[in-house]
């Protein structure tokens, strides 16, 4: 089957845009519509778009890490964010915030970190599952 040229070319521009959008969703999620789940799903869609337009192995090469590691890191980040308050003598998963808002990012705190963990995990899990299927043909 001859491959269409349009999709790969479009993907070359679309994918980075989608990834940036996903990060945008993640960061504004606490105050506006968005969040780690949506962000992660959008990013995973972007990556899968790339895999479909080129090939699964191309995505393997593109990814800095094995998606399994990505998923595990995400889970670890979320878990870790819950442990931070323990160092300050507060119960597990207490929300703690930096007093002064940072530029661009806005106020950040442990729930932000938790959401980042969710984001990373969702990317990892979805890409992992879909790549397993894609490669299994």
């Amino acid at each position: 089957m001859q491959r269409s040229i349009i999709l790969p070319v479009a993907t070359r521009y679309l994918m980075p845009l989608m990834l940036v959008f996903s990060i945008f969703l993640l960061l504004r999620g606490h105050n506006e519509v968005g969040g780690g789940f949506v962000g992660g799903l959008v990013a995973a869609s972007a990556l899968m778009l790339y895999a479909i337009s080129t090939s699964p192995s191309a995505l393997w090469k593109l990814l800095p890490l094995d998606p399994r590691f990505i998923a595990a890191i995400g889970l670890f980040i979320s878990l870790f964010s819950g442990f931070i308050p323990l160092f300050y003598g507060k119960p597990f998963m207490t929300g703690m915030w930096i007093e002064t808002p940072l530029p661009v990012l806005g106020k950040i705190g442990t729930p932000t970190l938790f959401d980042v963990g969710v984001y990373v995990l969702v990317i990892g899990v979805v890409v992992w599952i879909l790549l397993e299927f894609a490669e299994d043909e």
Partner: protein, 130 residues
């Protein structure tokens, strides 16, 4: 509107149940997905339906006077994401069963619950008692 929503959810439930009663494993999976949709709709309607008032706090005005209930939304959100994982797992499971048994027909797999040798096992036990 509520009535329409209820009818939609009812139809989704009915079709979902109908599909999981089928013999084909793939249809059962489809039924499970439909039941998932139906359950989400059910949850969504557990709180009063409202238009154009998402549960967001306005930076200037504070808590709005009218807002949609955020609790069912949070529940549904997680349910949607989980359903993806469940679907993926169910698909692999079906493929695996298909590869092992060579059939996608559930009626051909009824021996997995009661091993078809159960008659023999019973008679063995009887012998032992005697």
């Amino acid at each position: 509107m509520l009535f329409l929503m209820a009818i939609a959810a009812g139809v989704l439930f009915a079709v979902g149940i109908f599909m999981i009663l089928r013999r084909s494993m793939v249809k059962v999976l489809v039924g499970i997905l439909l039941l998932g949709y139906a359950a989400n709709l059910l949850l969504f309607n557990a709180a009063p339906l409202m238009r154009g008032v998402p549960p967001l706090i306005d930076p200037v005005m504070g808590v709005p006077a009218d807002y949609a209930d955020p609790v069912p939304q949070a529940l549904i959100l997680t349910a949607i994401v989980i359903s993806f994982g469940v679907t993926a797992f169910a698909v692999v499971l079906i493929r695996r069963v298909y590869a092992v048994t060579g059939t996608g027909d559930l009626d051909n797999m009824h021996c997995t619950d009661i091993p078809c040798e159960s008659e023999e096992i019973l008679s063995d036990l009887e012998d032992e008692i005697k």
